[in-house]
Protein backbone atom coordinates (compact mmCIF):
# COMPACT_ATOMS: atom_id res chain seq x y z
CA UNK A 1 0.00 0.00 0.00
CA UNK A 2 1.34 3.40 -0.86
CA UNK A 3 0.09 6.64 0.57
CA UNK A 4 0.24 9.87 -1.35
CA UNK A 5 -0.39 13.36 -0.11
CA UNK A 6 -1.62 15.78 -2.67
CA UNK A 7 -1.02 18.53 -0.16
CA UNK A 8 1.36 18.44 2.77
CA UNK A 9 -0.27 17.61 6.05
CA UNK A 10 1.19 16.79 9.43
CA UNK A 11 -0.71 14.05 11.08
CA UNK A 12 -0.66 14.56 14.81
CA UNK A 13 -2.79 11.57 15.61
CA UNK A 14 -3.73 8.40 13.89
CA UNK A 15 -7.26 7.85 12.74
CA UNK A 16 -9.36 6.85 15.72
CA UNK A 17 -12.97 6.35 16.54
CA UNK A 18 -13.57 9.98 17.50
CA UNK A 19 -16.02 11.28 14.92
CA UNK A 20 -14.16 14.58 14.72
CA UNK A 21 -10.67 13.31 14.21
CA UNK A 22 -8.04 15.89 14.98
CA UNK A 23 -5.27 15.49 12.48
CA UNK A 24 -3.25 18.52 13.50
CA UNK A 25 -4.08 22.02 14.60
CA UNK A 26 -7.48 22.78 13.24
CA UNK A 27 -7.40 19.92 10.70
CA UNK A 28 -10.58 17.87 10.56
CA UNK A 29 -12.07 15.31 8.26
CA UNK A 30 -14.15 17.02 5.65
CA UNK A 31 -17.93 16.97 5.79
CA UNK A 32 -18.73 15.15 2.52
CA UNK A 33 -22.38 14.41 3.20
CA UNK A 34 -24.19 17.57 4.10
CA UNK A 35 -27.84 17.26 4.99
CA UNK A 36 -28.20 14.39 2.58
CA UNK A 37 -26.26 15.96 -0.27
CA UNK A 38 -23.12 14.29 -1.63
CA UNK A 39 -21.23 15.77 -4.60
CA UNK A 40 -18.72 13.38 -6.13
CA UNK A 41 -17.33 13.29 -9.63
CA UNK A 42 -15.89 9.97 -10.74
CA UNK A 43 -15.80 8.70 -14.32
CA UNK A 44 -17.49 5.41 -15.01
CA UNK A 45 -14.55 4.19 -17.06
CA UNK A 46 -10.82 4.85 -17.33
CA UNK A 47 -7.91 3.68 -19.45
CA UNK A 48 -4.86 1.92 -18.09
CA UNK A 49 -2.01 4.38 -17.72
CA UNK A 50 -4.18 7.47 -18.28
CA UNK A 51 -4.55 9.98 -15.43
CA UNK A 52 -8.05 10.22 -14.04
CA UNK A 53 -9.30 13.15 -11.99
CA UNK A 54 -11.80 12.43 -9.25
CA UNK A 55 -13.29 14.95 -6.87
CA UNK A 56 -15.43 15.20 -3.79
CA UNK A 57 -16.99 18.29 -2.26
CA UNK A 58 -16.51 19.08 1.41
CA UNK A 59 -18.63 21.62 3.23
CA UNK A 60 -17.28 24.25 5.58
CA UNK A 61 -20.04 24.09 8.14
CA UNK A 62 -18.36 24.58 11.49
CA UNK A 63 -16.55 27.89 11.30
CA UNK A 64 -16.58 30.73 8.82
CA UNK A 65 -12.76 30.72 8.91
CA UNK A 66 -12.48 27.13 7.72
CA UNK A 67 -10.49 26.56 4.53
CA UNK A 68 -9.89 23.64 2.24
CA UNK A 69 -7.30 21.30 3.69
CA UNK A 70 -5.31 18.47 2.16
CA UNK A 71 -6.70 15.53 0.24
CA UNK A 72 -5.12 12.24 1.19
CA UNK A 73 -5.18 9.46 -1.37
CA UNK A 74 -4.30 5.86 -0.59
CA UNK A 75 -3.96 3.79 -3.74
CA UNK A 76 -4.05 0.01 -3.38
CA UNK A 77 -4.49 -0.94 -6.97
CA UNK A 78 -8.11 -1.98 -7.18
CA UNK A 79 -9.13 0.12 -4.20
CA UNK A 80 -8.48 3.82 -3.81
CA UNK A 81 -9.24 5.66 -0.60
CA UNK A 82 -9.81 9.42 -0.84
CA UNK A 83 -9.90 11.37 2.41
CA UNK A 84 -10.53 15.13 2.27
CA UNK A 85 -9.55 17.30 5.21
CA UNK A 86 -10.36 20.90 6.02
CA UNK A 87 -8.43 23.35 8.13
CA UNK A 88 -9.20 26.29 10.39
CA UNK A 89 -7.56 29.29 8.79
CA UNK A 90 -4.46 30.69 10.48
CA UNK A 91 -5.17 34.14 9.10
CA UNK A 92 -5.82 37.02 11.49
CA UNK A 93 -9.50 37.22 12.22
CA UNK A 94 -11.43 40.38 11.83
CA UNK A 95 -13.89 39.19 14.42
CA UNK A 96 -16.72 39.57 11.96
CA UNK A 97 -17.20 37.30 9.00
CA UNK A 98 -19.63 36.53 6.27
CA UNK A 99 -21.81 33.52 6.83
CA UNK A 100 -22.15 31.32 3.78
CA UNK A 101 -21.47 27.61 3.88
CA UNK A 102 -18.34 27.23 1.81
CA UNK A 103 -17.92 24.38 -0.65
CA UNK A 104 -14.43 22.97 -1.15
CA UNK A 105 -13.56 20.86 -4.16
CA UNK A 106 -11.05 18.18 -3.19
CA UNK A 107 -9.48 16.75 -6.31
CA UNK A 108 -7.17 13.82 -6.78
CA UNK A 109 -5.53 12.42 -9.87
CA UNK A 110 -4.91 8.71 -10.02
CA UNK A 111 -3.37 6.42 -12.63
CA UNK A 112 -4.40 2.79 -12.85
CA UNK A 113 -1.88 0.20 -13.94
CA UNK A 114 -4.19 -2.77 -14.43
CA UNK A 115 -7.48 -3.51 -16.10
CA UNK A 116 -10.52 -4.41 -14.06
CA UNK A 117 -12.96 -2.92 -11.64
CA UNK A 118 -11.57 -0.34 -9.23
CA UNK A 119 -13.43 0.87 -6.18
CA UNK A 120 -12.94 4.45 -4.99
CA UNK A 121 -13.95 5.05 -1.41
CA UNK A 122 -14.48 8.56 -0.09
CA UNK A 123 -14.16 8.86 3.64
CA UNK A 124 -15.22 11.90 5.63
CA UNK A 125 -18.04 12.97 7.90
CA UNK A 126 -21.74 13.54 7.53
CA UNK A 127 -23.51 16.58 8.91
CA UNK A 128 -25.39 17.47 11.05
CA UNK A 129 -24.94 14.00 12.63
CA UNK A 130 -21.19 14.69 12.80
CA UNK A 131 -20.28 11.05 12.46
CA UNK A 132 -18.00 9.14 10.09
CA UNK A 133 -19.30 8.64 6.59
CA UNK A 134 -17.94 6.82 3.62
CA UNK A 135 -19.29 6.15 0.18
CA UNK A 136 -17.94 4.16 -2.70
CA UNK A 137 -17.93 4.47 -6.47
CA UNK A 138 -16.55 2.09 -9.04
CA UNK A 139 -14.53 2.68 -12.17
CA UNK A 140 -14.09 0.16 -14.95
CA UNK A 141 -10.46 0.31 -16.07
CA UNK A 142 -9.89 -0.87 -19.63
Amino acid sequence: MKTRFLMLVLLAAACGSNPVEQLGTGVVRGVIKFQGQVVINVPETAEVGEPVTISVRSWGVEDCYITRGPTRVTDSGHWVLVEPFDTASQLPRAGVCGGPIYHFAHEATVVFSEQGMVFVEFRGREWPENKPYSTRRRILVR
Binding site: V61, Y65, L91, G98, G99, P100, I101, Y102
Partner: protein, 373 residues
Protein backbone atom coordinates in the same frame (compact mmCIF):
# COMPACT_ATOMS: atom_id res chain seq x y z
CA UNK B 1 -56.86 27.71 1.09
CA UNK B 2 -56.18 29.61 -2.07
CA UNK B 3 -59.22 30.51 -4.12
CA UNK B 4 -62.91 30.07 -4.66
CA UNK B 5 -62.46 26.87 -6.67
CA UNK B 6 -60.56 25.32 -3.76
CA UNK B 7 -63.27 26.34 -1.33
CA UNK B 8 -65.85 24.72 -3.61
CA UNK B 9 -63.84 21.49 -3.55
CA UNK B 10 -63.71 21.52 0.24
CA UNK B 11 -67.41 22.23 0.54
CA UNK B 12 -68.19 19.38 -1.86
CA UNK B 13 -66.24 17.02 0.40
CA UNK B 14 -68.10 18.39 3.41
CA UNK B 15 -71.40 17.69 1.69
CA UNK B 16 -70.33 14.09 0.98
CA UNK B 17 -69.84 13.64 4.70
CA UNK B 18 -73.41 14.83 5.31
CA UNK B 19 -72.14 17.75 7.36
CA UNK B 20 -74.48 20.73 7.04
CA UNK B 21 -72.75 23.40 5.00
CA UNK B 22 -73.79 26.10 7.46
CA UNK B 23 -71.93 24.23 10.19
CA UNK B 24 -68.62 24.79 8.44
CA UNK B 25 -66.68 27.99 7.87
CA UNK B 26 -64.04 27.83 5.16
CA UNK B 27 -61.95 30.94 4.70
CA UNK B 28 -59.44 32.03 2.13
CA UNK B 29 -56.09 32.70 3.80
CA UNK B 30 -53.80 34.42 1.28
CA UNK B 31 -50.71 33.63 3.33
CA UNK B 32 -51.02 29.87 3.01
CA UNK B 33 -49.09 28.73 -0.01
CA UNK B 34 -50.23 25.14 -0.23
CA UNK B 35 -51.72 22.36 1.77
CA UNK B 36 -48.43 20.74 2.65
CA UNK B 37 -45.46 22.05 4.55
CA UNK B 38 -42.04 22.85 3.19
CA UNK B 39 -38.58 23.01 4.64
CA UNK B 40 -36.41 26.08 4.22
CA UNK B 41 -33.74 23.63 3.00
CA UNK B 42 -35.92 21.74 0.55
CA UNK B 43 -37.40 22.45 -2.84
CA UNK B 44 -39.79 25.36 -2.54
CA UNK B 45 -42.00 26.35 -5.46
CA UNK B 46 -43.03 29.00 -6.00
CA UNK B 47 -39.73 30.38 -4.74
CA UNK B 48 -39.99 32.87 -1.88
CA UNK B 49 -37.53 34.65 0.39
CA UNK B 50 -35.80 32.82 3.22
CA UNK B 51 -35.15 29.50 1.46
CA UNK B 52 -31.91 27.73 0.65
CA UNK B 53 -30.05 28.55 -2.54
CA UNK B 54 -26.79 27.13 -3.79
CA UNK B 55 -24.11 27.92 -6.32
CA UNK B 56 -21.24 25.54 -7.06
CA UNK B 57 -19.22 27.31 -4.36
CA UNK B 58 -21.60 28.32 -1.60
CA UNK B 59 -24.81 27.43 0.18
CA UNK B 60 -26.78 30.48 1.30
CA UNK B 61 -30.28 31.88 1.66
CA UNK B 62 -32.44 33.78 -0.82
CA UNK B 63 -33.28 37.24 0.49
CA UNK B 64 -36.11 38.76 -1.46
CA UNK B 65 -37.70 38.53 -4.84
CA UNK B 66 -37.11 41.84 -6.57
CA UNK B 67 -39.18 43.93 -8.96
CA UNK B 68 -36.98 45.83 -11.39
CA UNK B 69 -38.94 48.96 -12.30
CA UNK B 70 -37.76 49.29 -15.88
CA UNK B 71 -37.80 45.79 -17.29
CA UNK B 72 -40.07 42.83 -17.58
CA UNK B 73 -37.42 40.60 -16.03
CA UNK B 74 -37.57 39.44 -12.46
CA UNK B 75 -34.84 38.98 -9.94
CA UNK B 76 -33.92 38.01 -6.42
CA UNK B 77 -31.25 39.29 -4.09
CA UNK B 78 -28.76 37.44 -1.93
CA UNK B 79 -25.35 38.30 -0.54
CA UNK B 80 -22.56 39.26 -2.87
CA UNK B 81 -20.30 36.94 -0.89
CA UNK B 82 -22.57 34.05 -1.89
CA UNK B 83 -21.34 34.50 -5.46
CA UNK B 84 -17.98 33.78 -7.05
CA UNK B 85 -16.51 37.14 -6.16
CA UNK B 86 -17.62 40.03 -4.00
CA UNK B 87 -17.89 43.11 -6.20
CA UNK B 88 -17.87 41.38 -9.57
CA UNK B 89 -20.52 39.46 -11.41
CA UNK B 90 -19.38 36.20 -12.97
CA UNK B 91 -22.85 35.19 -14.05
CA UNK B 92 -22.98 32.41 -11.47
CA UNK B 93 -25.69 29.81 -11.84
CA UNK B 94 -27.77 29.67 -8.70
CA UNK B 95 -30.08 26.79 -7.80
CA UNK B 96 -32.83 26.14 -5.27
CA UNK B 97 -32.33 24.21 -3.08
CA UNK B 98 -29.17 22.88 -4.71
CA UNK B 99 -27.08 23.98 -7.64
CA UNK B 100 -28.55 21.19 -9.78
CA UNK B 101 -31.96 22.91 -9.75
CA UNK B 102 -31.08 26.19 -11.39
CA UNK B 103 -33.38 29.15 -10.89
CA UNK B 104 -31.22 32.09 -12.02
CA UNK B 105 -27.96 33.75 -13.02
CA UNK B 106 -26.06 36.49 -11.26
CA UNK B 107 -26.37 39.76 -13.21
CA UNK B 108 -25.30 42.59 -10.90
CA UNK B 109 -22.67 42.90 -8.22
CA UNK B 110 -21.34 46.47 -7.94
CA UNK B 111 -17.59 47.10 -7.82
CA UNK B 112 -15.74 47.58 -4.57
CA UNK B 113 -14.53 51.14 -4.08
CA UNK B 114 -11.82 52.84 -2.04
CA UNK B 115 -11.11 56.13 -0.27
CA UNK B 116 -10.22 57.87 -3.53
CA UNK B 117 -13.65 56.98 -4.89
CA UNK B 118 -15.62 57.87 -1.79
CA UNK B 119 -14.57 59.61 1.43
CA UNK B 120 -16.85 57.34 3.42
CA UNK B 121 -14.48 54.47 2.71
CA UNK B 122 -11.53 54.49 5.18
CA UNK B 123 -8.05 54.77 3.60
CA UNK B 124 -6.34 51.55 2.58
CA UNK B 125 -9.36 49.28 2.35
CA UNK B 126 -12.00 48.24 -0.17
CA UNK B 127 -15.60 49.09 0.57
CA UNK B 128 -19.21 48.49 -0.29
CA UNK B 129 -22.41 49.86 1.19
CA UNK B 130 -24.14 46.50 1.04
CA UNK B 131 -23.33 42.84 0.76
CA UNK B 132 -25.78 42.20 -2.05
CA UNK B 133 -25.91 40.78 -5.56
CA UNK B 134 -28.79 40.54 -7.98
CA UNK B 135 -29.77 37.24 -9.58
CA UNK B 136 -32.02 37.18 -12.64
CA UNK B 137 -34.66 34.47 -12.57
CA UNK B 138 -34.52 31.83 -15.26
CA UNK B 139 -37.76 30.31 -14.03
CA UNK B 140 -41.22 31.81 -13.66
CA UNK B 141 -42.10 29.71 -10.63
CA UNK B 142 -41.59 32.28 -7.88
CA UNK B 143 -43.83 34.51 -5.86
CA UNK B 144 -43.14 38.16 -5.36
CA UNK B 145 -43.42 39.99 -2.06
CA UNK B 146 -43.33 37.01 0.25
CA UNK B 147 -40.91 35.37 2.64
CA UNK B 148 -41.20 31.90 4.11
CA UNK B 149 -42.51 32.07 7.65
CA UNK B 150 -41.87 29.08 9.95
CA UNK B 151 -44.49 28.73 12.61
CA UNK B 152 -41.98 29.18 15.40
CA UNK B 153 -38.33 29.54 16.23
CA UNK B 154 -36.38 26.29 16.25
CA UNK B 155 -38.05 24.81 13.19
CA UNK B 156 -37.17 24.92 9.52
CA UNK B 157 -40.62 23.84 8.43
CA UNK B 158 -43.11 26.35 7.16
CA UNK B 159 -46.59 26.18 5.72
CA UNK B 160 -47.22 29.87 5.28
CA UNK B 161 -45.50 32.98 4.05
CA UNK B 162 -45.43 36.55 5.28
CA UNK B 163 -46.46 39.30 2.91
CA UNK B 164 -44.00 42.16 2.52
CA UNK B 165 -46.07 45.26 3.02
CA UNK B 166 -43.30 47.75 2.26
CA UNK B 167 -39.57 48.35 2.09
CA UNK B 168 -38.35 50.01 5.28
CA UNK B 169 -35.20 50.91 7.15
CA UNK B 170 -33.91 49.50 10.45
CA UNK B 171 -34.50 51.51 13.60
CA UNK B 172 -32.37 51.17 16.73
CA UNK B 173 -34.19 49.29 19.47
CA UNK B 174 -36.74 47.71 17.14
CA UNK B 175 -37.14 43.95 17.12
CA UNK B 176 -36.35 42.33 13.81
CA UNK B 177 -36.83 38.79 12.54
CA UNK B 178 -34.51 36.84 10.27
CA UNK B 179 -35.53 33.78 8.22
CA UNK B 180 -32.62 31.64 7.04
CA UNK B 181 -31.92 28.10 5.87
CA UNK B 182 -29.65 27.26 8.81
CA UNK B 183 -31.24 28.71 11.94
CA UNK B 184 -34.72 29.37 10.61
CA UNK B 185 -36.72 32.11 12.26
CA UNK B 186 -34.79 34.07 14.89
CA UNK B 187 -35.25 37.51 16.29
CA UNK B 188 -33.50 40.21 18.27
CA UNK B 189 -33.21 43.91 18.88
CA UNK B 190 -31.39 46.27 16.53
CA UNK B 191 -28.28 47.57 18.31
CA UNK B 192 -26.67 49.68 15.56
CA UNK B 193 -28.00 51.27 12.42
CA UNK B 194 -24.71 52.58 11.02
CA UNK B 195 -21.79 50.31 11.89
CA UNK B 196 -18.77 50.43 9.57
CA UNK B 197 -16.12 47.73 9.69
CA UNK B 198 -14.19 44.99 7.91
CA UNK B 199 -15.82 41.64 7.25
CA UNK B 200 -13.80 38.54 6.33
CA UNK B 201 -14.76 36.35 3.40
CA UNK B 202 -13.38 33.56 1.25
CA UNK B 203 -13.93 33.65 -2.50
CA UNK B 204 -14.48 30.84 -4.99
CA UNK B 205 -10.73 30.59 -5.41
CA UNK B 206 -10.49 30.02 -1.64
CA UNK B 207 -8.64 33.27 -1.14
CA UNK B 208 -9.36 35.27 2.00
CA UNK B 209 -10.22 38.91 1.66
CA UNK B 210 -11.83 41.66 3.65
CA UNK B 211 -14.43 44.15 2.58
CA UNK B 212 -15.25 47.14 4.73
CA UNK B 213 -19.00 47.46 4.81
CA UNK B 214 -20.17 51.02 5.33
CA UNK B 215 -23.06 51.95 7.59
CA UNK B 216 -24.50 48.51 8.27
CA UNK B 217 -27.12 47.54 10.79
CA UNK B 218 -26.49 45.10 13.61
CA UNK B 219 -28.92 43.16 15.78
CA UNK B 220 -28.98 40.45 18.41
CA UNK B 221 -30.76 37.65 16.56
CA UNK B 222 -29.13 34.21 16.29
CA UNK B 223 -27.56 33.19 12.99
CA UNK B 224 -25.39 30.49 11.50
CA UNK B 225 -23.34 29.63 8.47
CA UNK B 226 -25.66 29.36 5.49
CA UNK B 227 -27.98 32.10 6.71
CA UNK B 228 -26.12 34.58 4.50
CA UNK B 229 -28.57 36.46 2.34
CA UNK B 230 -31.52 35.97 4.68
CA UNK B 231 -34.32 38.50 4.73
CA UNK B 232 -34.43 40.64 7.89
CA UNK B 233 -37.87 42.07 8.56
CA UNK B 234 -39.92 43.58 11.29
CA UNK B 235 -43.49 42.50 11.90
CA UNK B 236 -46.16 44.91 10.76
CA UNK B 237 -49.33 43.05 11.54
CA UNK B 238 -50.44 39.43 11.42
CA UNK B 239 -48.90 37.79 8.39
CA UNK B 240 -47.39 41.03 7.16
CA UNK B 241 -43.84 42.34 7.52
CA UNK B 242 -41.67 45.28 6.49
CA UNK B 243 -38.42 44.38 4.72
CA UNK B 244 -35.58 46.13 6.53
CA UNK B 245 -32.41 44.37 5.45
CA UNK B 246 -30.31 41.55 4.11
CA UNK B 247 -28.38 39.43 6.63
CA UNK B 248 -24.69 38.82 5.82
CA UNK B 249 -23.09 37.26 8.91
CA UNK B 250 -21.55 38.68 12.03
CA UNK B 251 -19.69 37.64 15.13
CA UNK B 252 -20.79 35.12 17.75
CA UNK B 253 -22.71 37.75 19.70
CA UNK B 254 -23.93 40.11 17.01
CA UNK B 255 -25.52 39.65 13.60
CA UNK B 256 -25.01 42.08 10.76
CA UNK B 257 -27.26 43.06 7.91
CA UNK B 258 -27.27 45.52 5.06
CA UNK B 259 -30.12 48.01 5.40
CA UNK B 260 -32.76 47.69 2.71
CA UNK B 261 -32.16 51.13 1.27
CA UNK B 262 -28.41 50.45 1.00
CA UNK B 263 -28.70 47.30 -1.07
CA UNK B 264 -31.59 48.60 -3.17
CA UNK B 265 -29.68 51.80 -3.98
CA UNK B 266 -26.41 50.03 -4.79
CA UNK B 267 -27.94 47.34 -6.95
CA UNK B 268 -30.52 49.73 -8.42
CA UNK B 269 -27.80 52.11 -9.54
CA UNK B 270 -25.92 49.19 -11.10
CA UNK B 271 -28.91 48.11 -13.18
CA UNK B 272 -30.43 51.56 -13.73
CA UNK B 273 -33.71 50.87 -12.03
CA UNK B 274 -35.60 51.25 -8.80
CA UNK B 275 -35.90 47.96 -6.97
CA UNK B 276 -38.84 46.86 -4.88
CA UNK B 277 -39.50 43.85 -2.72
CA UNK B 278 -43.00 44.60 -1.49
CA UNK B 279 -46.06 42.64 -2.50
CA UNK B 280 -47.64 45.72 -4.06
CA UNK B 281 -45.01 45.59 -6.78
CA UNK B 282 -45.95 42.11 -7.85
CA UNK B 283 -45.89 41.61 -11.62
CA UNK B 284 -49.24 41.81 -13.39
CA UNK B 285 -50.75 38.68 -14.85
CA UNK B 286 -51.40 38.18 -18.55
CA UNK B 287 -54.40 36.40 -20.01
CA UNK B 288 -55.23 35.10 -23.47
CA UNK B 289 -58.32 33.42 -24.90
CA UNK B 290 -56.44 30.49 -26.32
CA UNK B 291 -59.22 28.18 -27.41
CA UNK B 292 -62.62 28.80 -28.99
CA UNK B 293 -64.26 29.90 -32.26
CA UNK B 294 -64.38 33.42 -33.74
CA UNK B 295 -67.51 32.66 -35.78
CA UNK B 296 -70.42 30.69 -34.34
CA UNK B 297 -73.77 29.46 -35.61
CA UNK B 298 -76.80 30.82 -33.71
CA UNK B 299 -77.89 27.26 -32.87
CA UNK B 300 -74.55 26.10 -31.52
CA UNK B 301 -73.41 25.81 -27.95
CA UNK B 302 -69.72 26.73 -27.91
CA UNK B 303 -67.00 27.01 -25.29
CA UNK B 304 -64.01 29.29 -24.93
CA UNK B 305 -60.99 28.80 -22.74
CA UNK B 306 -58.59 31.36 -21.30
CA UNK B 307 -55.10 30.88 -19.88
CA UNK B 308 -53.37 33.20 -17.44
CA UNK B 309 -49.67 33.42 -16.81
CA UNK B 310 -47.23 35.60 -14.88
CA UNK B 311 -48.32 37.66 -11.93
CA UNK B 312 -48.99 35.97 -8.64
CA UNK B 313 -51.01 32.78 -9.05
CA UNK B 314 -53.63 31.60 -8.33
CA UNK B 315 -55.91 33.36 -10.78
CA UNK B 316 -59.60 34.01 -10.90
CA UNK B 317 -61.37 34.50 -14.25
CA UNK B 318 -64.44 36.63 -14.94
CA UNK B 319 -66.14 36.49 -18.35
CA UNK B 320 -68.36 39.29 -19.64
CA UNK B 321 -69.76 40.70 -22.86
CA UNK B 322 -71.65 38.27 -25.04
CA UNK B 323 -71.32 35.60 -22.33
CA UNK B 324 -70.77 35.76 -18.61
CA UNK B 325 -69.30 33.36 -16.11
CA UNK B 326 -66.35 32.49 -13.95
CA UNK B 327 -63.57 29.95 -14.27
CA UNK B 328 -61.11 29.44 -17.07
CA UNK B 329 -63.81 28.13 -19.45
CA UNK B 330 -67.08 29.72 -20.45
CA UNK B 331 -69.79 28.36 -22.73
CA UNK B 332 -73.15 29.28 -24.19
CA UNK B 333 -75.31 30.00 -27.23
CA UNK B 334 -74.84 33.43 -28.75
CA UNK B 335 -77.74 35.27 -30.27
CA UNK B 336 -75.80 38.28 -31.49
CA UNK B 337 -72.24 39.21 -32.38
CA UNK B 338 -70.07 41.11 -29.94
CA UNK B 339 -67.04 41.16 -27.68
CA UNK B 340 -66.28 38.26 -25.40
CA UNK B 341 -64.16 39.58 -22.54
CA UNK B 342 -62.21 37.74 -19.90
CA UNK B 343 -60.57 39.45 -16.96
CA UNK B 344 -58.06 37.59 -14.85
CA UNK B 345 -57.22 38.70 -11.35
CA UNK B 346 -54.23 37.27 -9.53
CA UNK B 347 -53.47 36.85 -5.86
CA UNK B 348 -51.97 40.35 -5.68
CA UNK B 349 -55.22 41.74 -7.10
CA UNK B 350 -53.56 42.78 -10.37
CA UNK B 351 -55.71 42.23 -13.43
CA UNK B 352 -55.47 41.76 -17.17
CA UNK B 353 -58.28 41.67 -19.72
CA UNK B 354 -58.47 40.08 -23.17
CA UNK B 355 -61.14 40.77 -25.81
CA UNK B 356 -62.23 38.53 -28.65
CA UNK B 357 -64.89 39.59 -31.15
CA UNK B 358 -67.34 36.76 -31.85
CA UNK B 359 -69.43 36.84 -35.01
CA UNK B 360 -72.74 35.00 -35.12
CA UNK B 361 -73.45 33.67 -38.61
CA UNK B 362 -75.60 31.01 -40.25
CA UNK B 363 -72.56 30.06 -42.32
CA UNK B 364 -70.16 29.51 -39.41
CA UNK B 365 -67.57 26.81 -40.14
CA UNK B 366 -67.26 23.72 -38.00
CA UNK B 367 -65.39 24.19 -34.76
CA UNK B 368 -64.56 21.37 -32.32
CA UNK B 369 -65.65 23.52 -29.36
CA UNK B 370 -69.21 23.79 -30.70
CA UNK B 371 -72.17 21.44 -30.78
CA UNK B 372 -75.66 21.91 -32.12
CA UNK B 373 -78.31 22.25 -29.44
Amino acid sequence: MRKKEDIDVVMAEVEKLSVPSDAVIVEHDPNVMRGSTDSLRGTVRPVVGGVQIQSPYFTCTLGYNVDHSSSNYWYFVTNSHCTSQFGKSWGDDVGQPTSGSKIGDEVADPDLFDHDDDDDCPPGVNCRRSDAALIKYSTSDWKHGRVAWPGDTGTLVFSSTAEITSDGTPVQGYWVFKVGRTTGLTYGQVTDVCWTGPVGYQDRFEQWYYVTLICQARAQYSQGLGDSGSPVVWPYYAGHVVAVGLHWGGSPDTAGFSPGAAWRDELGEEVGATLYTDYGHSPPPSVTIDDGPSIVHPDWYCTWHASASGGSPPYSYTWSGVLSGTGSTVGGILSSSGDLRVTVEDDAENTDTEYKYITVSESAPYHPNCAEK
